[in-house]
Symmetry: C2
Subunit: 136 residues, 2 copies
């Protein structure tokens, strides 16, 4: 049976993760140093799954520090680990919701001001004036 381990290019293709990013993850310790054949990295199944985990966590907006913590917890199972995972995720969910609220506030102001700008009948540009530009 042949070697199931894959090159960095193949890993990149399979996970949709940039090659440079894979090496970056290794450098900062998010991924463990993989096996080498000569100077070339060869990634085993466990590496591929681990990177998949990292990517999905990143897509959910977890920071790399949080990802590191989640990876740790995913190794040790048990109820307290699950509790820790839930705590981290709940905190992250709060942060996401706060960010959404921020962006919605921006959205409201932007949409309103653009609408006013479209309706015409102003001396200056309402957008610039909203930013305080009339006094520049």
């Amino acid at each position: 049976m042949r070697d199931a381990r894959v090159s960095i290019g193949e890993l990149s293709r399979r996970t949709g993760c940039n090659i440079e990013t894979i090496r970056y993850y290794e450098r900062i310790g998010v991924l463990p140093p993989p096996d080498r054949v000569g100077r070339y990295r060869r990634f085993a199944d466990a590496d591929i799954r681990r990177l998949g985990f990292v990517r999905r966590a990143r897509e959910l907006g977890f920071t790399l520090d949080e990802v590191r913590a989640l990876l740790q917890l995913s190794q040790s199972d048990g109820r307290s680990a699950c509790d820790d995972v839930r705590r981290i995720s709940a905190a992250h969910l709060s942060a996401v919701r706060a960010r959404i609220a921020d962006l919605r506030a921006m959205e409201r102001v932007l949409a309103k001001t653009i609408r006013e700008c479209g309706s015409g009948g102003h001396s200056g540009c309402p957008l610039i004036e909203a930013l305080g530009g009339n006094s520049l």
Copy 2:
């Protein structure tokens, strides 16, 4: 009549903008080099208003590149400038909305998974499993 121009500390207090950030804005050309008394910066009214403009634009999520463009446009008035401002703002609004959609997708997945985790009756941690952790 005394000098109305203010120190960087006073400007910081008035605008709520960090002193280091003010110097940073100057360095990258978002704010013009202010007058000096000796080696100390003295900010005139126009500078104060300009920084206010920058801060409000930043609060609306405009990048510093966009802020630079808006500042340029706020100097030259006229209809085409207003059109440009509206174009920049509309593009930015789209970006904000896209970001909100992203975050809401994250929020849904996170909330759902945390809910499932709370309901119990699973073999492993549902959060870890959602990330692909059961195969690690």
